[in-house]
């Protein structure tokens, strides 16, 4: 689908038009017109919130006379208007002019009702933009993909991006401006616990009050913002600093790459940011760097490039592959992708880096006395043999010293400019995030800060514990927080401003190489939110400008003289502004003396913090992410003290037992989860959980690791661990229960059968038995109809035989496909209680197995979807023929025929069928066991996200992967309309395939011998799971994983 320019008018797109018009329908008839776009019926849904009731109270009172003497019709009109206006205003006291409902006299460009349109935009996390294409259906964004022309995404997107569309429709998002009665006296011994009162206010209230607060020079005014590389924000910030020279601006990000930046500065004497080009790397050494996971936007690029260096799809041209060494304390998906993996403590990485640097002859490194790194020789020879095609990388949680060593090693190996590119830091003078926050807190504590504007972020929740940010914030007399949700920080600020979601706002952002993308809104702000640049405009500009104006101005300055209206539209359509990339920095000198890695205290437990699917906690209220199984632990709805069984034995804790973790007086209880492969003595704890004011989904999920994190070392620290004997059931979707010894043995026996692995030397050798020849004339399911003999009337290009291939060498198990599938196919979440029952609904399950002994466990991932077996065991047993086979080989599910016997699921050897045990699409996550009559009504806001091309399933029916049949049909229709042309290979992309960063999933037509999927199926190491044994003839085949443990053959 081509990307389109958005509607012309800034902030007054057709979306708003639709809104107002449906409102007028409300007011005229007194009840919603069924023909009106139904999404604004969420007004009624709003009616349940306290804000709404508050709003009603602020409505201009009805004219009593009118109310008494009005006709029934007039009364209903008035009542309808009150409802509508109160809901729209959210804060009351606003009476919008009534507008008329009118059809499009001129249809906006490229918009036909019912046809999805996709727009290019971008999402920024931690100052890094991902370029996206967002599919919009009648004004509702419903699905996000990576932008194929964006240098970072290249069409792929990670789980956070995929799930962000749900965030847009989160009913817990804050609505409008909230003013809190939190003025505190500056005198005496600090603030008292005052009664907190929150009341809705308006943006005008805020502006008029706020402008009085700030002195002309800005003294006592402080801004705390999230990390951002947005040119518009930078421009506004410059303007801000010009207007308020005495004001201060700090940037804080809980998860940041500051250590990399500092370490590189030590090595090269300049502020540069490294970006790896793994596609050119033959040898990759990761020192505690989770390259493919952890929520960093760059993980997509790294995974893609890594997979590109391992693709063995053509015997003639693709022979060699890269080799990945991973040394890490936790067990990450990067470790699972490694050819050689070694577990060590986080504190040992420094020593290892020193040792490696010394072995490679890096000058200025103190040669350690005794070597203890088993892999050292192998890595050394590999790295030296591949100078310029090797790369060493350390994780951002590692200290600056380690990064300095790593930079020096890469320099020594001549990797700079080849596999490591250094880009200049756009903010070279920026304080590191922790230091910046520390400075801000210092000023807040001395009451130097009179007014604090927090632009995004949630520092009360995720600031390092020792800074006592919450205490400091309470001392600030006037504080303003801009955020999507009224969160922990909002609760302590005097004002909360509703932030516009990135899908609702204009903006711009830079990606890893500096390329600028424009953020364009897909929908009017649902809750009156505004973006950070608009807030700044509110403060700085005489006449506040819209985000659209600000961004256009920035774009104009970026493009220069060639800027025209046409160019602007083109920029929007392309999603990336060409020519805005940075030039790679010239790396010349490096410091003479390098620090050497520190030793480690062995006899203490090491608590290692890491980020996963909720990132720094900002996605905690996102049900898709909370229910997405972690790729390694397979945990949902919790974080856990992840440790090896051996460590647990020394602490004397069991699985699912709460362990008490104590650090200098801070103490949390975390449930224990055994993960093979975690280094001994290491306890991993994911950040971002244990939110208290996240919303209905995210509150009280897991424990808050930030309370143990201090500025001393944000990556890990030593910790005291003590058993408590208390239980906390963890909802893991695999190994729901402890497996008995015999079961464990059977698992080990089965893994090689289910998940084939081969060595590089045998990459093109066959692994499977010859399929048995049937004595019957079997259906081919290749598009020909077995019923009618004459096929000559069907054009040959219309005969399809759909199939899928999954390259297990490429798959990292990241889980983006699971969320993409969830968004595309309207898959509900079920909540922790139901996951514990084993009723999660994901159509894709990424199985994770461990091979070998627990201490040296090798993890392997295998995505499992419906295999679309030609001999489908599910089909024959369905008594009502609700699941049948299409002529093209798709195992189809007819939801409205299904009666729900679950026989098909029992008989499916792959266990890919999902049953709707309850009406998971209705009610809340906690009222499943309440009879339907008494359940809460459907949240219509959530319904806005649903894909109209896919049925929303009711209770009692079975469902499963359909190969995204709606996408197949869309493409087929498009091809038919374009002169009945053949469907091109790769034209149909399933949702999982489209978002997969490593392109591990390939879908296509097996009738076409030249299609990618045919070629993959033809590989000798391709196999169908359980295929020869059960003769199911699965259409989804796996390409055996190749491990490159020994030396490359080239």
């Amino acid at each position: 689908m081509p990307s389109m320019t958005p509607p012309e008018t800034p902030n007054h797109g057709p979306d708003q038009y639709v809104r107002l018009s449906s409102l007028s329908v409300l007011s005229q008839a007194g009840k919603p017109d069924l023909l009106a776009p139904h999404y604004w019926r969420s007004l009624e849904q709003l009616a349940d919130t306290p804000e709404f009731r508050e709003g009603l109270a602020h409505q201009p009172a009805l004219n009593a006379d009118e109310a008494l003497h009005a006709s029934r019709r007039r009364f209903l009109q008035t009542m309808g208007a009150s409802l509508g206006l109160a809901g729209l205003a959210g804060s009351g006291c606003i009476r919008l002019p009534e507008e008329k409902l009118a059809p499009y006299a001129h249809r906006p460009e490229n918009r036909a009702p019912g046809n999805p349109v996709s727009y290019a935009t971008a999402m920024e996390i931690g100052g890094m933009a991902q370029g996206l294409l967002v599919t919009s259906f009648d004004g509702r964004p419903i699905k996000i993909e990576g932008n194929p022309s964006h240098p970072l995404n290249r069409g792929a997107a990670d789980m956070l991006v995929q799930a962000s569309v749900l965030e847009l429709y989160d009913p817990d998002r804050s609505r409008g401006v909230i003013k809190r009665g939190l003025y505190r006296s500056l005198s005496g011994d600090g603030p008292h616990d005052e009664q907190i009162t929150a009341a809705p206010a308006s943006w005008d209230d805020f502006r008029s009050e706020f402008s009085k607060q700030i002195p002309a020079d800005g003294a006592g005014f402080c801004v705390l913002s999230e990390a951002s590389n947005s040119p518009s924000l930078a421009a506004m910030r410059a303007k801000f600093q010009a207007k308020f020279p005495m004001a201060q601006w700090f940037e804080y990000e809980a998860v940041s790459d500051d250590n990399v930046r500092e370490g590189t500065f030590v090595a090269f004497g300049q502020n540069v940011l490294p970006v790896l080009e793994l596609a050119d790397a033959k040898v990759i050494v990761s020192l505690d760097a989770d390259l493919f996971g952890g929520g960093s936007p760059l993980a997509i690029k790294y995974a893609r490039d890594f997979a590109a260096g391992r693709r063995l799809h053509d015997e003639k041209t693709q022979k060699g592959m890269n080799r990945l060494y991973v040394i890490e304390p936790l067990h990450t998906i990067t470790g699972a992708s490694a050819d050689r993996r070694l577990a060590c403590r986080a504190g040992e990485i420094g020593a290892i880096a020193t040792e490696l640097a010394a072995a490679l002859g890096v000058e200025g490194v103190e040669v350690p006395k005794d070597s203890h790194l088993p892999l050292l020789n192998a890595m050394k020879t590999d790295l030296e043999d591949n100078m310029g095609h090797a790369v060493v990388v350390a994780g951002p949680q590692q200290s600056a010293e380690v990064h300095a060593l790593v930079a020096a090693i890469n320099h020594k190996l001549h990797n700079v400019g080849k596999t490591v590119i250094y880009y200049p830091d756009p903010q070279p003078k920026r304080l590191s995030h922790a230091t910046a926050l520390e400075a801000a807190v210092k000023r807040m504590n001395t009451v130097e800060v009179k007014t604090l504007l927090i632009l995004g972020g949630n520092p009360v929740y995720n600031a390092p514990e020792d800074l006592k940010f919450a205490e400091a914030l309470k001392k600030v007399p006037y504080s303003v927080h801009l955020a999507l949700h009224e969160d922990e920080t909002s609760q302590l600020c005097t004002w909360h401003l509703s932030q516009a979601h990135y899908l609702e706002s204009w903006g711009d952002a830079r990606t890893f190489n500096g390329a600028v993308s424009i953020l364009q809104p897909l929908i009017e702000p649902l809750f009156e939110g505004r973006s950070a640049i608009e807030i700044l405009s509110l403060i700085v500009d005489e006449k506040p400008r819209t985000g659209h104006n600000i961004v256009r101005e920035t774009a104009k300055s970026l493009v220069g003289n060639s800027y025209t209206e046409y160019r602007w539209k083109k920029l929007l359509a392309e999603g990336v502004i060409a020519g805005t990339e940075w030039k790679a920095a010239q790396i010349e000198k490096r410091s003479e003396k390098l620090p050497s890695g520190r030793g480690v205290v062995k006899n203490q437990y090491e608590l290692v913090f890491y980020t996963d699917k909720v990132y720094d906690g900002r996605f905690a209220n996102n049900g898709w992410l909370q229910e997405l199984p972690d790729p390694m632990t397979r945990l949902t709805w919790d974080n856990a003290a992840v440790m090896s069984e051996k460590t647990a034995q020394t602490i004397e804790v069991k699985q699912d037992e709460l362990v008490e973790l104590t650090v200098e007086g801070s103490r949390i209880l975390a449930p224990v989860f055994f993960l093979p492969g975690v280094a001994e003595g290491v306890i991993g704890l994911a950040l971002g959980y244990g939110r208290t004011v996240a919303g209905h989904v995210g509150n009280a999920v897991g424990c808050n690791a930030f309370t143990l994190r201090t500025t001393g070392n944000l990556g890990w620290r030593s910790v005291k661990a003590r058993p408590t004997g208390k239980k906390h059931r963890l909802a893991t979707v695999q190994d729901h229960h402890i497996v008995d010894p015999y079961g464990k043995e059977a698992v080990q026996e089965r893994i090689p059968e289910l998940l084939h692995e081969v060595s590089l030397a045998k990459a093109y050798e066959g692994i499977r038995d010859k399929p048995a020849k049937s004595i019957f004339d079997e259906h081919k399911f290749d598009g020909t109809s077995p019923a009618s003999g004459d096929q000559s009337l069907v054009p040959k290009h219309d005969l399809h035989k759909w199939g899928m291939a999954v390259d297990l060498s490429s798959c990292t198990g990241c889980g983006a496909c699971v969320v993409a599938c969830q968004a595309e196919n309207n898959i509900p979440i079920v909540g922790k209680e139901q996951v514990l029952h084993g009723r999660e609904m994901h159509w894709i399950r990424i199985d994770r197995y461990f091979r070998g002994e627990p201490e040296e466990a090798v993890a392997v991932h295998q995505p499992v979807f419906c295999m679309h077996c030609e001999n489908a065991p599910c089909e024959s047993v369905c008594p009502v023929a609700a699941t049948t086979h299409s002529q093209e080989g798709i195992n189809m599910m007819t939801y409205n025929r299904c009666v729900g016997t679950r026989y098909c699921a029992n008989n499916c050897p792959y266990k890919v069928r999902r049953f709707n045990f309850f009406d998971f699409n209705r009610g809340t996550l906690t009222d499943h066991y309440v009879p339907n009559l008494f359940r809460q009504p459907v949240t219509e806001l959530i319904e806005m996200q649903k894909n109209p091309d896919v049925t929303v399933r009711m209770r009692g029916v079975m469902e499963k992967c359909t190969y995204c049949i709606q996408r197949i049909e869309q493409t087929r229709i498009a091809a038919k309309r374009e002169g009945d042309r053949p469907i091109r290979d790769g034209e149909i992309q399933t949702a999982c395939q489209q978002t997969c960063p490593t392109q591990a999933i390939v879908f296509g037509d097996l009738n076409d011998a030249e299609s990618r999927v045919s070629k993959l199926h033809a590989l000798p190491r391709a196999y169908g799971m359980l295929d020869p044994e059960l003769n199911t003839k699965p259409r989804t085949q796996y390409v055996a994983r190749v491990r490159n443990e020994k030396r490359n053959d080239e």
Binding site: H736, V739, R750, Q834, R839, Y849, V877, D919, Y929, G956
Partner: protein, 470 residues
């Protein structure tokens, strides 16, 4: 009222008496004894107590089913991979119970096993009530109960037929056929007795009710002629059903491909198991019933002894089937299959597997001893254990099979929710309520048939082939 004499010794030279006591000597006495149960109000206090308990359980069943209907199948603790558990276990269990009746009525009839006459009515009633309980579960276990009728082949606007390949559909036919034939057989056999009740009725309601259902039976020669022919034909029709129903039920599993389900031994194994559990249930019901309603002279120790022998025989066959399963799993060399059977005895649900083995294949061997077979309350306990064991057999096959199949990633576990447990108990409420009503209002013993085997009648038959039936 009568002195009990032992009719259990097997003396080949002398035919054992099937009916004991003084009543055995007179046709009228039989009528009085059997019809008296229905005619003499009030029934024993124990009946009221039993009825109260059964009705409460029936109420629980109703509540649980309503809760299920209004909420969703999720109120049961089913999950992925365990798509069936208590629901289908109960179904197979009740269908199995329902086997004894037809076997006793039809097969033993064809084999001229005259001792069946005392217990056949009773066993048939049990069959029908058990089939009613069995039918309940497939109907309520589906996700969308309001469209359960889609399982039946009927012409419809969707132009959709059910899928004739599915064993679940075969079940629908097998069970509904079985239920129909059983009801017909039971009812038809009851017509002469209903007429007797009619003739003895004291109240108008009873008179008309029994009158309508006795279909104008007058006991004429012609009636008897037609009746006996029809009975024979129905017996012949019902006989293959005894074998077919549970064979078809076993296809639900045998035709699937799960390890532990996909086994060719299942049809005979299930049929034997069904007869086994059916006879156990007959004993479970007969022992208290003969005490309660004073029918010890009709359901004599010899009957009990005979049934115990059938239980023993079927237990041996079931035990053989179990060992064959294990043997074939080992001999066949299929690792999935081997794992499954190992898992049955040693896996997380070992207790279920061992309960099944102990109750079905070990405990019944006490019945080799005649002293056990003839001490009714010991036999009662054994029969209860067999019932428990047979319920667990289905549980083990279904649940243990489902928890661990091919992909270890999808292994799961299962424990029932309170709704499932109460539904199972409630189904006993339904069964017992129907049974207690039957005991109270319908001829519990086939009077007409019993009369034909009274010692006095036997004697007359041998000498003069005279027919005297009342």
């Amino acid at each position: 009222m009568t002195t009990e004499t032992d009719n259990t010794p097997d003396n080949p030279r002398q035919r054992a008496t099937l009916i004991l006591g003084e009543t055995g000597q007179s046709l009228h006495e039989v009528t009085v004894a059997v019809a008296g149960v229905a005619e003499a109000p009030p029934p024993p206090r124990a009946w009221y107590v039993a009825m109260a308990i059964s009705l409460s359980l029936l109420g629980v069943l109703g509540l649980m089913v309503l809760y299920l209907f209004f909420t969703g199948v999720g109120v049961w603790n089913l999950n992925r991979p365990v798509g069936w558990a208590f629901d289908i276990t109960n179904f197979v269990f009740w269908v199995g119970i329902g086997h004894a009746g037809t076997l006793i009525s039809a097969i033993l009839f064809l084999f001229r096993q005259k001792w069946r006459t005392s217990i056949n009515r009773f066993a048939e009633a049990m069959t029908i009530f058990a089939v009613a309980c069995a039918g309940l579960f497939p109907a309520i276990h589906i996700g969308r109960v309001w469209v359960f009728y889609w399982l039946f082949p009927y012409p419809n606007q969707m132009a959709m037929w059910p899928n004739y390949l599915s064993p679940l559909l075969w079940d629908v036919f097998a069970v509904s056929t079985y239920a129909t034939v059983s009801v017909l057989f039971w009812y038809m056999g009851m017509v002469p007795d209903l007429a007797t009740f009619r003739d003895r009725a004291k109240s108008k309601i009873a008179y008309y009710s029994y009158g309508i259902f006795s279909l104008g039976w007058r006991g004429s020669n012609r009636h008897w002629h037609i009746y006996e022919r029809a009975y024979l034909i129905l017996a012949a029709l019902a006989t293959p059903l005894v074998l077919s129903v549970h064979s078809v039920v076993s296809f639900d599993f045998a035709v699937s491909q799960l390890p532990g389900w996909h086994t060719t031994i299942f049809p005979p194994y299930f049929v034997t198991g069904a007869i086994f559990s059916g006879f156990a249930m007959v004993v479970t019901l007969a022992v208290p019933a003969r005490e309660l309603f004073g029918l010890k002279n009709f359901i004599t120790l010899r009957h009990i002894d005979n049934m115990a022998k059938v239980i023993l025989l079927t237990s041996c066959i079931v035990g053989y089937a179990y060992s064959m399963e294990f043997f074939i799993a080992w001999y066949g060399g299929n690792s999935w299959e081997q794992f499954h059977f190992h898992n049955r005895l040693n896996g997380p649900m070992w207790w279920a597997g061992w309960t099944m083995l102990t109750c079905n294949a070990i405990v019944p061997h006490v019945l080799w001893f005649k002293s056990v077979r003839t001490s009714v309350w010991v036999l009662f306990v054994v029969s209860l254990l067999v019932n428990v064991g047979m319920w667990f057999e289905r549980y083990v096959i279904i649940v243990v099979g489902l928890t661990r199949d091919f992909l270890p990633s999808s292994w799961g576990s299962y424990a029932p929710s309170y709704v499932e447990v109460l539904t199972l108990l409630g189904s006993f409420g339904l069964f017992l309520t129907l049974f207690l009503l039957f005991c109270r209002y319908l001829p519990m013993v086939a009077m007409a048939e019993v009369k034909s085997i009274l010692p006095s009648q036997q004697h007359r038959e041998e000498h003069g082939h005279e027919h005297e039936k009342v």
